[in-house]
Structures are given as structure tokens and as C-alpha cells.
């Protein structure tokens, strides 16, 4: 494919338009026509449309959005809820923030269509507590739509009612995990819940609930306006559409970029991001948020940005929070920071995560700080082994994956810091 052609924009199609963050601005670029169209369809037809588009969840797991909507039980006598996951806190990820700041009405339009599709009567916008401007924009947008009758009773004469509530997080990363989000929303400590039951069956307040990432929902208006097949044409065979990447680290132009799925990672770094800072050499890339396995430069530069390619390369697309590491950076130092983050953010309910992440962090601290003990790398490997697949949510794996991949690709850097039995550090 010739990527020099103008990239088709879905989410950022109108981002540069004047005042597009206002109601009028969004309306001026065709805003709410998707909602009007959706409300003339049956909810089931909207679900089918999103399924056909091949939209996959942008919160990290990449689960097909329309399929998830279809899990809501038919003929339930309980209220159905939509939770918009705007808790975005994975280190390296800042795409939802941009969407909410720049295109709040697009995000809302997508959420309202989603709520209609799953027959929700109430939607919650669960937003990261530190997001000040995004929160103000979303709150104002919800108020405006309430005034305009696009939120409330009998929306656009469809006979369908929807209310919206904003819920601010209180600073815990784990409230981005969908069941942690639900616990927090319910007023309890933000801690994930055991699955099954899945939220679609028993979610917020014990009722069927769909949790969707902001970016997933933000794509819905475009899909409704342009049709599922137009969206499905974008990207690769299995990874349809476009994806936002929030690139941080040692590049000249860090930022949030929209590219079609399948776009080469190398092009993103060289074209959009303007190459490496100070001309330094690329050492490694964490492609999908800090919990995903790191890829060494030579592998990363061969990788295309779609779910399947990144997985084949040994990592995951995740949230698209890309962290670019150059050859001046110390991998043990970086891993130490990740250790601190994940041990601090463990909700503390699962034994391996509660005890293993802080233990791992303590060992990583002393390795990076030159106070390693001879068996510290084995200890870390053991911790990583028992953090994987042994817990209620994936936070424990989120430290295990970096530990393993950092060791796999950059073990010499760690070994150099560990004394041999005789008490000498092999690297001197």
C-alpha cells in the first residue's frame, strides 16, 4: 500500500475545523446527522451496522464492539447501562483526552448512539479525576445536549429516553479496568470484580452494562454517516478502520496521531513524529501502553500497526500509547519506574498482585540503584511468572509482561548490575 497518499481520517476528520468543540461547530460539520439516522433504525440494526464495520474496542483488548453490544440479554427487566470509560491512565496513553477536549460532541454523539443500540436508559461518563479541561468540556456538552433535547426524554421524537451522568475518578488507575470502574461508580473502593459474571450480564448496580472506551465510541458517528463498509474498507483484513496513537518519548514531534490500521510503525516515527530526537538511535518501542511487552528497535521497525502484526512481533497494540526509547536510556531504570507504577496502582485484592507487584518493585529499585543481590533476577522472574494469569484483572500481568520482555531483549543491561556470587558486578 502506498502510504504517501493522504491518510483517511475518521476521528480527526474535523479536528482542525474552527470551533468544532462547540455544539454549533460540531453541527456545522454534519454533527448529529449520525444520531438522527441511528434513531430511525431499530437498535438491533445499529448493533449490526457496528458489527459489520468491524470496529474493535480501543481501550486495550480489541474486542469487537458490536459483538459486545450483542451480549446484553434480550428482554431483561432490569435497566441497562452504558459506561463510557474515560479513565485513561495507562502511562503513555493520552488519546481519549484529546478526543474529549477537541471533539466532545462527537464523543457524546457516539455514546448516545451506543446507548440507543443497547437500549440503555442511563449512561455514565466515568472520567479520570485529573482530567480538568476534558471534564469541563464534557460536562458543558452534556448540559448543552440536554437543553437541545438530544439527551433527556423522547430524544428526536423516538420515544426513547436517556440520561447522562458524569462521574469523576479519584486518581486510581485501576478504575479504568471495566469492573474496577463499576465498583467505583457504585461507590465502593475501585476494585475489579471476578468474571464471570461479565458486565453485560451483571454490571453496574447488578444490571446489564456495557463499558466502552471513548475512542471506540468516537468512531461510531463516522460509521453511521459513511456506512459500515466504508469503515471496514479502511485498515487491514482483521483490523479495520483507523487508530489513534499517542506517541511519547524520544521523538521530535510527540503527539496524538490518527493512522489507518496496518500503517508501518517506522513511517509513524519518521513522518508524523519527525524522527528521533537529537538524531539518536532508536533502542526500543513499547507500542501499546506501558503494560505491553517492549519491542527492540529492529523488530519494532519491521512492524505494522494493526492488532495482528503487533502481536506477531511479540507485543500488543493495546491502547496505542506508544513509548519510544533511545539508546541513551537505561532499561533497568525504565523498568524500575514501571514497577513503581504498577505496584502503587494494584488495588490490593489478589494475593499475587498485592504482594508480588510491590515485591517486584522493591527488587527492581535495588537493581537499578546498584544494590542488587545475586539472585535478584531469578526472584524477578519468579515474581513475573506468578503474576501472570493468576489474578482477577490484568494489572498483575501488566507488570509481568514488561519484566519478561525487558529481560528477554535487554538482559545484559540487568546482568551488568547484578553482583556475581563473589560479590562483583559483572559489568564492573
Amino acid at each position: 500500500m502506498d502510504w504517501s497518499e493522504a491518510v483517511t481520517r475518521v476521528l480527526f476528520e474535523h479536528r482542525d475545523e474552527k470551533d468544532v468543540h462547540t455544539f454549533e461547530g460540531w453541527k456545522a460539520v454534519g454533527g448529529f446527522s449520525a444520531l438522527e439516522k441511528a434513531l430511525k433504525m431499530k437498535p438491533e440494526e445499529v448493533v449490526e451496522e457496528v458489527k459489520a464495520a468491524g470496529l474493535r474496542g480501543r481501550g486495550g483488548a480489541g474486542f469487537p464492539t458490536g459483538v459486545k453490544w450483542g451480549f446484553i440479554p434480550k428482554n431483561t427487566d432490569k435497566p441497562i447501562y452504558l459506561c463510557v470509560n474515560a479513565d485513561e491512565s495507562e502511562p503513555g496513553t493520552c488519546k481519549d483526552r484529546v478526543l474529549m477536549e477537541d471533539l466532545p460532541f462527537m464523543c457524546l454523539e457516539g455514546a448516545i448512539i451506543a446507548a440507543y443500540a443497547i437500549k440503555a436508559s442511563m449512561a455514565f461518563w466515568y472520567i479520570r479525576g485529573e482530567f480538568d479541561l476534558p471534564e469541563r468540556r464534557m460536562r458543558a456538552a452534556i448540559e448543552t445536549l440536554r437543553e437541545k433535547g438530544l439527551i433527556g426524554k423522547n430524544i428526536l421524537g423516538s420515544g426513547w429516553d436517556l440520561d447522562f451522568v458524569i462521574h469523576r475518578g479519584a486518581g486510581a488507575y485501576i478504575c479504568g479496568e471495566e469492573t474496577g470502574l463499576i465498583s467505583s461508580l457504585e461507590g465502593d473502593k475501585g476494585q475489579p470484580k471476578i468474571k464471570p459474571p461479565f458486565p453485560a450480564i451483571k454490571g453496574a448496580f447488578g444490571c446489564p452494562t456495557i463499558v466502552n472506551n471513548v475512542e471506540s465510541l468516537a468512531a461510531v458517528p463516522w460509521i453511521m454517516r459513511n456506512g459500515a463498509s466504508a469503515y471496514a474498507k479502511l485498515g487491514t483484513e482483521k483490523s479495520n478502520g483507523t487508530k489513534l496513537f499517542s506517541v511519547s518519548g524520544q521523538v521530535n514531534r510527540p503527539g496524538v496521531y490518527e493512522v489507518e490500521m496496518g500503517y508501518p510503525l517506522r513511517d509513524l516515527l519518521e513522518n508524523e513524529c519527525g524522527g528521533m530526537k537529537r538524531g539518536r538511535a532508536l533502542k526500543a518501542v513499547i507500542p501499546g501502553g506501558s503494560s505491553m511487552p517492549v519491542l527492540p528497535a529492529e523488530v519494532a521497525l519491521q512492524t505494522n500497526l494493526d492488532y495482528e502484526s503487533v502481536q506477531a512481533a511479540g507485543s500488543m497494540l493495546g491502547s496505542g500509547g506508544m513509548i519510544v526509547i533511545d539508546d541513551s536510556q537505561s532499561m533497568p531504570e525504565l523498568l524500575k519506574i514501571l514497577g513503581r507504577f504498577y505496584s502503587h496502582e494494584s488495588c490490593g485484592q489478589c494475593t499475587p498482585c498485592r504482594e508480588g507487584t510491590p515485591w517486584g518493585s522493591r527488587v527492581l529499585d535495588r537493581v537499578a540503584d546498584g544494590a542488587a543481590r545475586p539472585d535478584d533476577l531469578e526472584t524477578l522472574e519468579r515474581i513475573a511468572r506468578f503474576l501472570s494469569g493468576t489474578t482477577i484483572c490484568l494489572l498483575a500481568d501488566s507488570l509481568a509482561m514488561p519484566i519478561r520482555s525487558f529481560f528477554q531483549h535487554f538482559r545484559e543491561e540487568f546482568e551488568a548490575l547484578v553482583p556475581t556470587e563473589a560479590g562483583e558486578k559483572s559489568g564492573g
Binding site: 486510581a172 485501576i174 473502593k189 471476578i194 464471570p196 505496584s343 502503587h344 496502582e345 494494584s346 488495588c347 490490593g348 485484592q349 489478589c350 494475593t351 499475587p352 498485592r354 504482594e355 508480588g356 507487584t357 510491590p358 515485591w359 522493591r362 526472584t379 519468579r382 511468572r385 506468578f386 494469569g389 493468576t390 489474578t391 482477577i392
Partner: protein, 541 residues
């Protein structure tokens, strides 16, 4: 009917209800899957990760507590992977554990100790000074002590307060390895069932204040009993200590714990009932008393013979008062004694204590364990309430069985009528207000030292047992009643005063006890025949 499925656990086939979790299914084939957070009577939390197993066709290590059985499922609980994971979980759990077993009340019944010995046995990789410290010896409530360092964050206690009492006092606060069990500021763990949290706490984090530092559990013996605290009749275990010196037994009761019975108390009991074991230890009478002087049994009986022999010929000269604390067997034999020895019709039943608080869960307002049974067995002879004073009128002697006619609980008319009776013969395990002016006090035993049955508020017959032995002069009431019968010239064989045999008599005579015996009643009790249901179904009454 629920569907059943066939599962294979460590090579053993078993049929279980579809969806039963793997821990429960494994129990049925005698395989214990170790666990901390799972409790059969609470929701599943899945946080401890101790119960991982391997299941063919499933990825990774599913947790047995949250995996329902499906047909054809093949479960392995003893693979290397499973054993490694258990050891790793234990290593994680002990990482910040204070290991203060020598001063911990849970020692000996602590699941950390037990599973460590079974599944871990590694040396610690973490130095003591690296451990996270938290609060110790916190009075989290009036009846429960908290040691936050020993907590393994299983959240059983949290779920208990959320789901069973619905009072929600406890929460796991903070995160990561600073996760700490506590109440919110200003809130105490003070509900009517709070000590259950100490029972279900698998470690020494929550302990029962009443029991704290009283005994090492490995010295204690455990026997099934029924709580005597109210008409609910919660199934309990009595933990007691048998001190034996030469031929002397000096049993001491230490605590009551709930015993699972899904038809009565599930897995719980109230905090009030916990203290009922004091009835075994406190205010006991060890020797007979005749006219305020302690005497031997022979002395007491010789004196009593003088009183009772002449009255035996005078029909109805002797009255009988019992309380709703008595067993069915005692009421039966008491009735028989009054009738056959003294020609007295009728037996009076009086309360020992006033009605008290009740709730919509276990606690019943009736603070007697056997009102229903006493009334049924007394049958046509039953005299209660205001009729008791009239019944006492003109009697020359009264035999009081485990009751206290002088107590402030009784009506003034009853107390007066009682005072007017000349000879007062009291059979009681403990001192009470009536002991002081009785002609004869014959010491009997507490609920934990005798066999018998009670009928709870649901009409369920349940057994109490002789668990404790004490080398005093006190005897089971059934024996004392037989001796009184002998004084009056009746000869009752051994059989006639043995509790199980007496119960057989009751079952033969009384339609609602029909079909029951001690084996049928078993550990968990059995319902009385429901005559109303039989009548509805067209049976003959």
C-alpha cells in the same frame, strides 16, 4: 429438579448438580482444594488464588471457587503447576506477615500455618525489617479484636458484614501491600453477629475477645451442641477442656462456635449465644443442700424420703414446676414421676427469663431453647401462665425442675403461691433465686453434660449431648428424677431413665414425634411430623 453433570476429579467420577463449584464437588470425593477467600455461605470473591486447579480444555489455572461443573469436566488438583502456584501464593501471603504465631490466638487453627506445612515449606526470601507494618491489637468492636498485620485481605469478613448482617462495617482500605482491613472512622464492628467474623477469618487478624488468651486450641476438645440461648437452636460446636487428675474430671467450657446447618443457622450464630457456654462454668451447685446445709446425696435422700413417703399416699399433694429450658425427656419423666409416684395430674411450665430482643434472622424473642418441646410433651397435662398459681394452691410439696419460681420474671401471684408451699425440692444446675429458701436443693447438670432433645421454633427436634464431665455430685436430671421415684417406692430400670430410651417412649406416645429416634435426629436434627400438612394431604390425623 436440578440437572446433574458428571465430573472427574483426580480420577474419581462423581455426579453433582450442574454449576456446583469445583471446590464443593471435590469435597464430595474427599479432595480438599485449599482456599482462603472462598466460603460456602458467602459470595465468591476469587482474590486469594489458593484454589487454582487444572481443567482439561481450559487455558491456564482456573480458580475452583468460581468454576462451575459442566458435564464431562476433568479436573486435576495435584499437578506440578498447581502445587507450584499454591507454594507461590503462600510465599506471597507470608511476605509481609508478622509471623507472630507464638503470641497469636489463632495459632493451631490458622490456615496460614496449616497450608504452609502442607503446601509451601520454603524459607523466607524477605528480611523481617523489610515488612510493611500495620496496626496491632485494635479494638475494632466490643467483642472482636483486630490485628491488621495478620490479615491476608481475603475479604470474608467484609462480605459477611455486607451480605449476612447487611451492616457493612468493614472495608479493605488502601491499596497494594498497604491494603488494610478496618472500619471507617467512628464506626465500630458492633452488630449482633460480629464474632462470626472471627470464626471465618482464616488467620489471626480478627479474634474473639471473650476467648482471647484463654486457651491454646490444640488442648481443646470439640463436641456438637445446640445453643441454649433462644428458640432458634443454632447448631454449635462446644470447645472445652478436660482436665483429668486421677479419677477427677474437671471439664471447662471455653467457647461456642457455629456449626453449619442450612435448615437452621446456616453457618452463623449470634454474639449473645456465644456466651451461653458460661452456663456450664458459672454459679454451679456441686453438692446437694438440705435446709441450707451442704450434704451428701445419701444424706439428702434419707431426709427426702421422710418428706416424700407420706405424701406419696396422698394423691396430688405434690406439685411439679419445670421451665422451658428442660429437655423433652426430662418433661416426660417428670410428668411420669408426678403421676405414678404422687398421683398428680398436670405439670406447670414457667419461663426462666423474659422475652428479649429479636430480629428477622436468627435471634428469637423467646430466650428458651425448648418451649415448643416442653409444651408438646406436657400435652394435656400442660399448665401455664396464670393457671400455675391456682395449680399450686393447697399443695404440701413442690418439685422444681430447672426452674426459678422466685425469679422476678414470674407473676407475683405465682411467687406468693409458691412461697406458701411448705416443702420445696429444687433440681437445678446453678444457683438461682429459689435456692435460698428451698428445703432441698439437688444439683443437676448443664446442657453440655447431658443427653436430650429440644424442639426449636421451626418444630425441629435437635440433640444436645453429654460432652463435658465434671467430678462433682451433680447428676443429670433424669437420674435424679428416677431416684425420687425410688423414694416413692417405684422401681425404674436403667432403661427408663436413659435419654434415648425415654425419647423412644415419647415417639411411641406422641404423634408429632412419630418415626423419630436419636439416629434419625442425627447431627442436624429432624422436623416434627407436620400434622397440618398431613391433614391437608388427606392423611389420617
Amino acid at each position: 429438579m436440578t440437572d446433574t453433570v458428571k465430573v472427574n476429579i483426580d480420577g474419581q467420577e462423581i455426579e453433582v448438580p450442574k454449576g456446583m463449584n469445583v471446590i464443593e464437588a471435590a469435597k464430595k470425593v474427599g479432595v480438599e482444594i485449599p482456599h482462603y477467600c472462598y466460603h460456602s455461605h458467602l459470595s465468591v470473591a476469587g482474590n486469594c488464588r489458593m484454589c487454582t486447579v487444572e481443567i482439561e480444555g481450559m487455558r491456564g489455572l482456573p480458580i475452583a471457587c468460581n468454576t462451575g461443573c459442566t458435564d464431562g469436566m476433568v479436573v486435576h488438583t495435584d499437578t506440578e503447576k498447581v502445587k507450584d502456584t499454591r507454594a507461590a501464593v503462600l510465599e506471597f501471603l507470608l511476605l509481609n506477615h508478622p509471623i507472630d504465631c507464638p503470641i497469636c490466638d489463632q495459632a493451631g487453627e490458622c490456615m496460614l500455618q496449616i497450608y504452609y506445612m502442607e503446601h509451601d515449606r520454603q524459607d523466607s526470601r524477605v528480611a523481617l525489617e523489610e515488612k510493611v507494618h500495620k496496626g496491632k491489637a485494635i479494638e475494632v468492636g466490643p467483642r472482636v479484636m483486630l490485628d491488621q498485620e495478620r490479615c491476608i485481605a481475603c475479604a470474608r469478613c467484609v462480605r459477611f458484614c455486607d451480605e449476612i448482617t447487611k451492616t457493612g462495617e468493614l472495608r479493605l482500605l488502601n491499596r497494594s501491600n498497604h491494603t488494610t482491613i478496618d472500619t471507617f472512622p467512628g464506626i465500630e464492628l458492633d452488630n449482633d453477629y460480629s464474632v462470626c467474623t472471627a470464626d471465618i477469618c482464616p488467620v489471626g487478624a480478627l479474634t474473639n475477645k471473650d476467648f482471647r488468651f484463654k486457651a491454646r486450641v490444640w488442648f481443646l476438645q470439640h463436641d456438637d451442641e445446640i445453643c441454649p440461648g433462644c428458640a432458634t437452636g443454632c447448631n454449635v460446636v462446644l470447645d472445652h477442656y478436660e482436665q483429668i487428675e486421677l479419677e477427677d474430671w474437671n471439664g471447662v467450657a471455653y467457647r461456642l462456635r457455629p456449626r453449619i446447618n442450612d435448615d437452621v443457622n446456616q453457618a452463623w450464630m449470634c454474639d449473645h449465644g456465644r456466651l451461653e457456654y458460661h452456663k456450664v462454668n458459672d454459679d454451679r451447685l456441686d453438692r446437694p443442700i438440705a435446709h441450707n446445709v451442704e450434704v451428701s446425696w445419701e444424706g439428702a435422700l434419707t431426709n427426702l424420703r421422710k418428706v416424700l413417703t407420706p405424701l406419696a399416699d396422698e394423691k396430688g399433694a405434690v406439685a411439679g414446676i419445670a421451665s422451658y429450658d428442660c429437655t423433652n425427656e426430662e418433661i416426660w419423666l417428670f410428668k411420669k414421676l408426678l403421676k405414678e409416684a404422687f398421683g398428680t395430674e398436670g405439670v406447670a411450665l414457667i419461663p426462666q427469663r423474659a422475652d428479649g430482643p429479636e430480629d428477622d434472622f436468627l435471634i428469637d424473642a423467646d430466650k428458651h431453647p425448648n418451649r415448643a418441646g416442653c409444651q408438646l410433651v406436657a400435652g394435656d397435662d400442660l399448665i401455664e401462665g396464670e393457671a400455675v398459681a391456682d395449680y399450686l394452691e393447697g399443695r404440701k410439696a413442690v418439685i422444681v425442675l430447672d426452674a426459678d419460681p422466685r425469679s422476678a420474671v414470674q407473676a407475683a401471684s405465682l411467687r406468693d403461691a409458691y412461697s406458701a408451699v411448705k416443702q420445696k425440692i429444687i433440681l437445678t444446675p446453678a444457683k438461682n433465686a429459689s435456692v435460698f429458701d428451698a428445703s432441698f436443693v439437688l444439683p443437676t447438670v448443664s446442657f453440655a453434660e447431658k443427653d436430650g432433645t429440644w424442639v426449636n421454633r421451626q418444630g425441629r427436634v435437635q440433640r444436645i449431648r453429654r460432652a463435658i464431665r465434671r467430678s462433682t455430685a451433680a447428676k443429670p436430671a433424669l437420674d435424679v428424677l428416677a431416684e425420687l421415684a425410688a423414694l416413692a417406692g417405684l422401681q425404674w430400670g436403667e432403661d427408663e431413665r436413659e435419654a434415648a430410651a425415654v425419647f423412644e417412649e415419647i415417639a411411641k406416645d406422641h404423634p408429632r414425634f412419630r418415626g423419630l429416634d436419636y439416629d434419625v435426629i442425627g447431627r442436624l436434627g429432624a422436623p416434627l411430623e407436620d400434622r397440618s400438612a398431613m391433614a391437608k394431604e388427606g392423611g389420617t390425623v
